[in-house]
Symmetry: D2
């Protein structure tokens, strides 16, 4: 259950880390959209393993195959199925942990819930599944661009190294200029050094991905249980290793007074605007036309290259040894995933809002 996401722009993902393939079916993409498969591939390349020295060295081409829904270069309104074959599986790396529960992985909980599980590389709990989300998100991004909407995400913290600058102070065109995807290149250097050091210590470290969505028109979001920020938060918390989400003023807003926090309105060139934007572009769950921005906390990756105490499926005490190829820090590769999920949420609510535009 719950391998689908979205209401009108709906995706369903499938596939395990070490099975034949991962893939996604997008149901609800409007017809007539020019879809560039190369652009989908570019997003895949931003997420794929082995892209730099600070990511896992698993090698995957992550080449996208279009199975349906695109005809003569355009979407047809029918389900778009996208497939990525798995290549560098090395399942034998996992045989030693087939009956062990790796600490802070999903091994134990899947075993309890399903009884029978694909233990190779975490099966479906592996972040490899996010390749399917990135593929779908790349289609959503192309749709959003038609509507003048753009999503930017970047690494704003690694361990204790936190970029204190707000997104307005950053040059977001520089995100891809460093392998860690921090647009402040000085900070990027420090982050890379910290990740390098952590990897040498056979350890892992957490981080924060920040994001801003520009160009969202007012009116997206649904009252009560479909608040736009709640959907974004739910989407982000659904990404592997995420521990927290805040938008607008976030946890710091707690300390503010109402008189400081309120975003007063004014009119600018025929548009209703707000002086400040502590609301993060969303008021009462509905976009108000200002930038939507948020932060996503990622824990350190659970797979470390050390021995750790655990138990096995028989309940016996064991030592789990760290093998396999893993990221010392997940955030650089999480950037396109955050963007993909944000794009999927916005596309979905944009479609939903079409029906609100009808009047009796």
């Amino acid at each position: 259950m719950h391998n689908s996401f979205g209401t009108l722009f709906k995706i369903s993902t499938f596939g395990e880390s070490h099975g034949p393939a991962v893939g996604v079916v997008i149901d609800g993409c409007p017809a007539g959209l020019d879809i560039s498969v190369e652009e989908i591939q570019q997003e895949m390349d931003r997420r794929k393993p082995g892209q730099s020295r600070i990511t896992t060295q698993r090698q995957e081409g992550d080449e996208i195959e279009v199975l349906s829904g695109i005809f003569e270069g355009k979407s047809t309104g029918m389900p778009i199925a996208l497939l990525v074959r798995n290549q560098d599986q090395r399942s034998k790396d996992y045989s030693h942990i087939a009956d062990q529960f790796r600490p802070s992985h999903a091994d134990y909980t899947y075993q309890v819930k399903y009884g029978h599980r694909d233990y190779r590389g975490g099966g479906r709990s592996s972040a490899r599944e996010t390749a399917a989300r990135v593929a779908a998100g790349a289609v959503a991004k192309q749709l959003l661009r038609q509507w003048g909407i753009e999503v930017f995400a970047w690494v704003s913290q690694v361990g204790a190294l936190a970029l204190e600058k707000s997104y307005q102070e950053l040059d977001l065109t520089k995100i891809e200029d460093s392998i860690v995807r921090c647009p402040d290149l000085e900070m990027a250097e420090q982050m890379i050094a910290l990740i390098d050091e952590t990897r040498k210590n056979r350890d892992t470290i957490g981080g924060v991905v920040s994001a801003v969505i520009k160009g969202v028109p007012p009116g997206l979001g649904e009252p009560v249980f479909g608040k736009l920020h709640a959907a974004l938060g739910g989407a982000m918390l659904g990404i592997n290793a995420v521990k927290g989400f805040e938008y607008g003023s976030g946890f710091k807003g707690v300390e503010m007074l109402g008189s400081q926090h309120n975003d007063t309105f004014y009119k600018d060139e025929g548009k209703v605007r707000t002086h400040s934007n502590h609301s993060g572009g969303v008021q009462g769950g509905i976009s108000n036309g200002e930038d939507i921005y948020f932060r996503v906390a990622f824990k350190p990756v659970a797979t470390i290259m050390m021995d750790q105490p655990s138990v096995n499926t028989q309940g016996e005490a064991v030592q789990v040894s760290g093998k396999g190829r893993h990221d010392p820090c997940v955030v650089p590769r999480a950037v396109p995933i955050v963007e993909a999920m944000a794009a999927l949420v916005i596309a979905d609510f944009y479609l939903l809002n079409q029906t609100s535009k009808l009047r009796g």
Copy 2:
């Protein structure tokens, strides 16, 4: 759209702040549950306005009427409809803002989205709607109790006054011992003083509600898009005024190393347990049997008793003056709402997990 919440234990709420009533329909409550209407009423009383000097002075009896689904004291498996009539509406308090957009309220976004809105007290964007959620949550709580599950929430921060103690260090039976609902009674005094002062200044202030769910069996939650913590986070972010959510190690976990953060397993009296619980009781999106704990950030209430610059529906600059009766700090009354939403999420996933227990 999106006035429903949940998949198998599903609620649909209705009603505006100043309309005839608010209510909820619960679809999916298992049959045969003894339902105490008094217990529902007790939860209503914990949320209701006018309960203490630090809440709004609007007076509502918030008396629950059962319209369906309960027969001879037990649930029948049919929809349970619960109704609360609005009493102390004072709609005229709002006539002066009928065509004004109050800063950081939903007035502007609703106007843009729907064209026609009930401007009295925020209509459906008012926190009055949460009365319906608390009623439904009170049924969910009674169901969870049958399964040995309990939810506790409390105020852990008001403005900059933060309770640094973890939940294990607190006596959760004392939550109701102070009107601010902080179980550390010394801190509670300080919080109350701060709220009093803020109200005297005609201002408002934010806060944090913390929560722990005890007794959740391993196996609740669904892979990928139905992760238990993502559902909890989405639910919390759907509560009015919430700006952030974190669970387990949360944003602080970012700074940890994997070797510090990982929760190693051991066996204790036949049960697989973890030594630490940075995972917050959820691994790979599925409960592991440990306590589930999380924190929810609330911004300062938008209605302040001061004049603020704004625009009206014609786009003209106006001064919005603060009238009406509002909470200087939302968190004391948010406690039962957080508990209600948590109970609804857990009940839903408990039911969903029944189907996972089938084996081919």
Copy 3:
């Protein structure tokens, strides 16, 4: 579960036959619709018991109370909750069958499924629940009228008395001219006589309701699992006592050759039309702009005024005696229910189709 219907124009009904009330929450009605509560009441009156000598003599005012979602006479886009209090409940009529299973009723199946049930008048399995559907359908009808769409249903068969005329040969303005709701007044007389005779025999009899939907634009319906006629069929089969559904050529179409059955196209005043309409206005699951027409088969009402052999909850053989007040033939009162469900389906697909109108 499954007390909701629809995707974007979604209704949730609640309430038992002999509980305090039945009601419905409509989620997704576009904002700004002028809603006439009198028109809702008129539809209620068409369905209500005691309306003529050939229906049950239970007396219900079936007065509609609006609880939310309508402000200053217009929909606000928020949930519209409508309530009908039950009045003439006479629960004691049912005490004698509290532990008996009435043949061809839902008593046995509810008992098995839920263990605990409201046995008074069938509880929620009673056709009284359809009052809530008619209320919601009356809102949908007002919405459809804005879009130029109208739904007509009438009685076309009672027992073996079948009206052989097609809908084009009938004067649909005469539906309400007879208490049996057959627009052919000669046939209506015969039908009424047959129902009278059946009732005198303490028996019941089946019938057919036919319907046509006029003014549906081309494009409504979704491929594969959301075919418009499948949604209509599913909706009709969800009405109490329905045993069959056919649209367009229906079961008789089976005997035709493709060369007879195909509806060839031509152009008429700028519109693509078909010469014949065996397709019943739907091709490939999507409306083509022609009239949509269908037929719904209703079995004879299960409650007869005779003794019948059965078993009780202890599995003992018993005689169930027919008491209470029931319809000798359900179809006259089923007419507004068929219309309501059809209107709900069309409203839902009209909204869904808005999103198809977007182009990439």
Copy 4:
């Protein structure tokens, strides 16, 4: 939208008739089910084109590839993705109709709804999409067998040739003994002759598929909008070319009296049974443990080998000439599709019913 089916045992299909592949993702299959890929293949072979002289001569291997969700021969509870590559596409057969609307096909309605469509062989409106449903249904069948449930479908009518025998009078093991899939082999001969003759006349003809589901326990189905027979009916009406559905006494039940139609209860070996079964195994929308049986009407296939008048996308009058390879009568190949959809519905409601078994 609406390319998914089911609530807890949910399938999502994708793929066009003349694209690279068709496929299906099954979300919600319980873990631990032994899945035989050969059995899936056998069902595919029952549906596949070119299987006999009375079906289309398009040649497709329809070989199933498992992409995910099965590990070491068992389901894992994760999405099961099944893929069938298209082989014998002959897209050039369709170039002549790229801008023409074939009568009684979905060409016109898709063009209106989506603007841009895959015109080759009907794209997604083609019955080729049902290959994906049969694959998913074959998994559902294996699941149902674990629970003692079996589905049988057969051809009971071709044109005016109607098998008057009830299912109890037939030997259902003989369904596969004739290429027309009628278990009465004498009638089968006549049906085959009629289809042969129709094909020689370059025409097509309709038919009826009957079905029975045996072994369904009491309790499946949900009240009001989730009635089991309504779900079956909706599912059947979603199959290409279906015009009608009836269950139990169906349209003939209309002519019966309540005293004839009611199924009186008795106790047999500890089980509550009914003497007759006009209810078709479903009472109040919930299975009562008796056989569930129904009939599905199929119109004649729209593609005939004759010239027909039509219009093109420019609205000009044209003659559409019949080319391509099509079935003269769809019902023999529809048999496994009816079985598949029935199995999917029952599997879904079986899972849903697990949650009803919980008691407060």
